[in-house]
């Protein structure tokens, strides 16, 4: 167990190899002397011989700070113009190029000017760290994200520029620069603290003794927590047990202003108690207003930044859904807020707040309720009666009226209690078609009408009989219950439908990705599915061997320079960039890297059709889909590589088989030739005339054979390189046969050759030399296996759209099992010497030639059921028009 934990800790350490070290100078307030301390440390390092460069340092005009700068190399700031104002920012590219040992970057929580690569300076710092440059930086405690609201509570000042907490975790060293508040105030009075004029009033409010003390404590707590975490990590590295992870923290949020505060609180609690945490939002299926959605999105994004997981659930009752989820995730702590707002809906169980329900039902769960201190805004509640509601109430009224009408008609036939069923039906209809409110309104109205019109005495609201009172009351009860149930069912159905749609989409994508076998298929599936899911345009960007961009998608985009730069950056750093992120956010495209084992395989580019950014739930969906997509891409690329390797292997095998056959095929005739000629040269005078002639003829025949083999080899290389250019021409089949027979004159001399050429024959539109070669190869093969004096038949047969050359012999024939295989180059070449005189390369070439024309080769039985026949079938092109005039005599 401890080994595993130790390994984890070591793994955490691993990425630090090659990374720069981050040293953070933390202070409670401006003016405590962080920059000064940083410069002191930098000077020490410089004296030790390290290359220190000043990235950006704010002296705020203080002489002593400026004095500390002396001697340190400076990286000039880069200037940019924005709306007529000149702004100076850290020269990130310059520093990356120079690559000093240490760079000084003051004010970590600074927002960069628009047009910079990153929107925040801490992102610049991250990039510098990744490049291996050590960084010294300063930060005030109020800039930490999770402390933002606490600081506001303490000082009343809302700090806008924040730094995510995990930066502090990334830091290798945190130095707390501390100054007692009294001394700080003195420095302020002496004018040694930088105060921008505009902020004077705010700063005066800020710099009170109480505030400063509280901030100082906050800073100390943060530093202490960091030390604590460090200690734990060291324990783990040494193999000792760290405190076991106890369960999980769930914080339930609603779409209101208190959500963000809840999230921050949850982050702090989770950190203190070393728990992983999730933010849960339960939708009941009703539509939400824009402002509410905005609060929700902001809270969810904050949660992601602070390191929590975001979960969206839907269900009928909030408390039940939360508890079920908590059990599922084995959560130990459930955190909710208690709002002072009047309950706007039926909270479920007769007036309990969510918190109370949770406490009542959550068995074994620790439930923590955070009292929201912010004054609630009642206006929001009122505004909820939006456009839709009055129409639904109108529907309720109409339904009641029609129910009344029907009931009046049926009054003759139905007993009194049964009439109530008609009204009940109306309530149900309204409940299903709209929401709870109108349904209840309908119930109430129905009750009144029922009472007025039907319960005796009619046309009054007085109820005469006792049992009728009961009837009325039960009716009302049933109506309310039915209405409640029906509307709740409807909401649930809506929510389920939405979830189902999303899940189906995910499933569909996974299934299709699984079926896609190559890179192209994967990309097109991904693009197609993503574009179905949301209102987006998607594409996959990859890099080919020359590092040029290849885009796979429906449309090929034209990217602006910014967008290209974002894509470039995303590829290089393996992180998201582009629209909606903090890096190069100008431009319309959002780039997600699809990574295999560290190496980026491609980028997923997303662009919304709608205005503005993609909503966070869509973004999360896309992020979730990027993972299987990356895997599928990796798999497809691997498959492609495997295929290429297999082909390569096959080619290699073929090549060696061919080399073996070539050696054999060329040497055999040469051996015969050489032998014959040697014989003649040395023994010619003692030979008979006939013998001499025979030897000479042998030499000649073998030379011709050699010529044919060489031709075969040439043809094979042409076929093999795939560059068989067909120069087609109109050819008479008879000419091809004549030419082939002519070439093989001597080979066929011993056989009885029959030629069957019907008349007339259509013209073939082919490359004549290739077809002739194919026929020659087939004839030679047939001749080789024919008995001496045997018959060899060449027949041409023309159908309506194909022409066939059939060569039949009386040889041993080809067994059925081999008929398919003899045209396979591999098969015949692999048989080598054992394959009889000459290998079957000729037949394989034959198939190549015929195949290149779109024809095919078949093997069958020979003459009279014996031997073999080879059919070369070629498709016939429509015969060309003959100008009849031109042929008249």
């Amino acid at each position: 167990m401890s080994d595993a934990m130790r390994a984890d800790a070591l793994l955490d350490e691993a990425p630090r190899e090659g990374r720069g070290q981050l040293k953070v100078f933390l202070g409670a307030a401006p003016g405590v002397g962080k920059t000064y301390a940083m410069l002191q440390a930098a000077q020490r390092q410089r004296r030790l011989g390290r290359d220190v460069r000043v990235g950006v340092v704010e002296t705020h005009g203080r002489a002593e700070t400026a004095a500390m700068l002396v001697g340190l190399a400076d990286q000039p700031l880069c200037r940019s113009e924005y709306r007529g104002i000149t702004l100076f920012e850290l020269d990130l590219d310059g520093l990356l190029a120079v690559r000093p040992d240490i760079a000084l970057v003051d004010e970590l929580a600074h927002s960069n000017a628009p047009g910079s690569r990153h929107s925040k300076r801490w992102q610049d710092v991250l990039e510098l760290l990744e490049a291996g440059i050590d960084i010294y930086t300063t930060v005030n405690v109020q800039h930490l994200e999770s402390l933002n609201d606490q600081v506001r509570a303490i000082t009343g000042v809302q700090v806008r520029e924040t730094v995510p907490d995990w930066i502090l975790h990334e830091a290798d060293d945190i130095l707390l620069v501390d100054l007692p508040p009294r001394e700080l105030l003195e420095r302020l009075r002496e004018g040694k603290v930088y105060v921008p004029e505009q902020a004077r009033a705010a700063i005066d409010a800020f710099f009170t003794q109480t505030n400063l003390t509280a901030l100082r404590e906050l800073a100390m707590q943060t530093a202490a927590a960091r030390v604590d975490a460090d200690l734990h990590r060291r324990y783990r590295l040494q193999g000792q047990r760290a405190p076991a992870v106890r369960g999980r923290l769930l914080v339930g949020i609603d779409a209101d202003e208190s959500a963000e505060g809840l999230v921050r609180h949850a982050a702090r609690v989770a950190e203190r108690r070393h728990l992983p945490w999730s933010v849960v939002h339960v939708t009941l299926g009703a539509a939400r207003e824009e402002t509410e959605l905005g609060y929700l999105q902001a809270a969810q994004q904050l949660a992601e930044r602070l390191g929590g997981e975001v979960v969206e659930l839907s269900g009928a009752r909030v408390s039940r859904t939360l508890i079920d989820h908590a059990h599922e995730r084995r959560a130990s702590l459930l955190l909710v807020g208690r709002s002072k707002r009047p309950r706007r809906r039926w909270p479920g169980r007769f007036g309990q707040s969510i918190a109370e329900q949770l406490i009542a039902a959550g068995d074994g769960l620790e439930v923590s309720v955070l009292d929201q201190t912010k004054p609630t805004q009642r206006k929001a509640a009122r505004q909820r009666t939006g456009r839709w509601d009055w129409r639904n109430y109108l529907l309720a009224g109409l339904a009641t009226l029609s129910a009344t009408a029907i009931a009046l008609v049926l009054a003759r036939y139905l007993a009194l209690p049964n009439i109530s069923l008609v009204f009940l039906a109306a309530v149900l209809v309204v409940a299903v078609r709209s929401s709870l409110g109108p349904a209840l309104a309908c119930a109430g109205l129905s009750f009144l009408f029922y009472d007025f019109l039907f319960i005796p005495p009619t046309f009054t609201f007085i109820v005469a009989r006792q049992e009728d009172v009961l009837t009325l009351l039960f009716f009302l009860l049933m109506a309310i219950l039915a209405g409640n149930l029906a509307s709740r069912q409807k909401r649930q159905l809506e929510a389920l439908r939405q979830t189902q749609a999303q899940t189906t989409a995910l499933l569909e994508l996974s299934r299709r990705l699984g079926a896609a076998t190559d890179v192209q298929a994967v990309c097109s599936v991904a693009v197609h599915q993503l574009q179905l899911l949301a209102d987006i345009e998607a594409l996959v960007a990859m890099r080919d061997k020359q590092a040029a961009w290849v885009f796979k998608g429906d449309l090929l985009p034209s990217l602006t320079e910014q967008e290209q730069a974002a894509a470039q950056w995303a590829w290089k750093h393996g992180q998201q960039a582009g629209q909606g992120t903090d890096t190069l956010p100008e431009g319309h495209w959002w780039w997600l890297p699809l990574s295999g084992d560290g190496q980026p395989l491609g980028l997923l580019g997303i662009r919304t059709f709608a205005q503005g950014r993609l909503p966070p739930d869509r973004r999360r969906l896309v992020c979730a889909l990027a993972q299987p997509l990356a895997q599928a891409l990796g798999r497809a690329m691997l498959a492609d590589e495997l295929e290429a390797a297999r082909l390569h292997g096959q080619t290699e095998e073929l090549r060696s088989a061919l080399l073996a056959s070539v050696s054999h095929d060329l040497r055999t005739p040469l051996t015969a030739m050489r032998g014959s000629i040697d014989c003649l040269a040395s023994l010619g005078h003692s030979m008979s005339e006939d013998d001499r002639r025979e030897l000479l003829e042998t030499t000649r025949d073998e030379a011709e054979r050699l010529d044919r083999y060489i031709q075969n080899l040439l043809d094979m290389t042409r076929l093999g390189h795939g560059g068989l250019k067909l120069f087609r021409d109109w050819v008479a089949p008879g000419d091809i046969v004549a030419s082939a027979l002519q070439r093989l004159q001597r080979v066929l001399a011993e056989l009885r050759v029959e030629v069957l050429l019907p008349d007339p024959l259509p013209l073939l539109y082919v490359h004549p030399a290739l077809i002739e070669q194919a026929l020659v190869n087939v004839l030679e093969n047939a001749a080789r296996f024919s008995p001496p004096g045997g018959r060899l038949q060449v027949a041409v047969d023309a159908g309506s759209n194909a022409l066939r050359f059939v060569v039949s012999d009386e040889g041993p024939g080809i067994p059925e099992a081999e008929r398919e295989k003899i045209f396979d180059m591999f098969y015949t070449a692999a048989r080598g010497d054992r394959g009889g005189p000459g290998t079957g390369l000729g037949l394989a070439i034959c198939q190549g030639m015929i195949g290149a024309h779109g024809g095919r080769v078949a093997v069958g039985e020979g003459l009279d059921g014996r031997g073999a026949s080879v059919t070369l079938e070629l498709p016939l092109q429509p015969q060309p028009a003959m100008d009849m005039e031109s042929d008249l005599s």
Binding site: A732, D735, A769, M882, S889
Partner: protein
């Protein structure tokens, strides 16, 4: 040109090929001159004025086509080119550039000698066509525009006759497709090879020529046709 025997200039860089050509030509009574490259060949042709030139297209210093071009610029001497099998385009090009015939390496010596004979049979100027061309039982009388097979007169259409006549004027030598199409159908039809195929087919039929083993008209695949003549 001197004496009764005709002189043949061989331009080829391969000594073995020159050797057997010389031996075979000499055995038929021809006077043989040899050159090993293009420049030398042109010089000798100018100096010695041979009756026939045998030109290898694969020469070391100049492209054989270039030599041909040069030759043709000042002489009408008959030229046989030696080419490699699979380059039909090269053969056609040479024929269009003025070569009279070709043999494909490796070639049989009989075939070669037949072509030599065919080329040397004609007088130097081609303006006088021979009156009658004999090809076995076939007799083509160009003066009277009559074709007879043995005793029987063969009746041909205008195109068929024109085709046969052109082949006969170049009896024993190859005539390119394009040339035939141009002469018989006109320059605009130089690409309509199917016309040629069909008419040749009819011609063969009328002459009783077996298409699988033609006696009279031989197809030179990818290049043209040749009328086999008595030699």
């Amino acid at each position: 040109m001197s004496g009764d025997s005709a002189s043949v200039l061989i331009i080829d860089d391969e000594p073995q090929i020159r050797k057997f050509l010389r031996i075979s030509l000499a055995s038929q009574g021809y006077r043989v001159l040899e050159s090993t490259d293009g420049r030398d060949g042109l010089a000798r042709a100018a100096l010695e004025q041979p009756d026939l030139v045998v030109l290898d297209l694969g020469l070391p210093d100049m492209d054989g086509q270039e030599v041909l071009g040069e030759l043709r610029s000042w002489t009408r001497v008959p030229v046989i080119v030696l080419s490699v099998r699979s380059s039909e385009a090269e053969k056609v090009r040479a024929l269009d550039a003025g070569a009279n015939d070709y043999v494909t390496k490796p070639f049989g010596i009989q075939e070669f000698l037949a072509r030599v004979r065919a080329l040397l049979r004609l007088p130097q100027s081609t303006t006088n066509s021979p009156g009658q061309v004999l090809c076995g039982a076939l007799c083509i009388d160009l003066a009277f525009r009559r074709v007879s097979l043995g005793e029987r007169v063969v009746s041909l259409t205008k195109k068929e006759y024109a085709l046969l006549a052109e082949l006969a004027r170049h009896a024993g030598r190859v005539v390119t497709q394009q040339h035939l199409l141009k002469i018989v159908w006109g320059p605009s039809h130089a690409g309509d090879s199917h016309y040629l195929r069909v008419v040749i087919g009819h011609l063969r039929q009328k002459l009783g020529d077996d298409p699988a083993a033609p006696r009279f008209i031989v197809t030179e695949a990818g290049v043209g046709y040749r009328l086999i003549s008595d030699a």
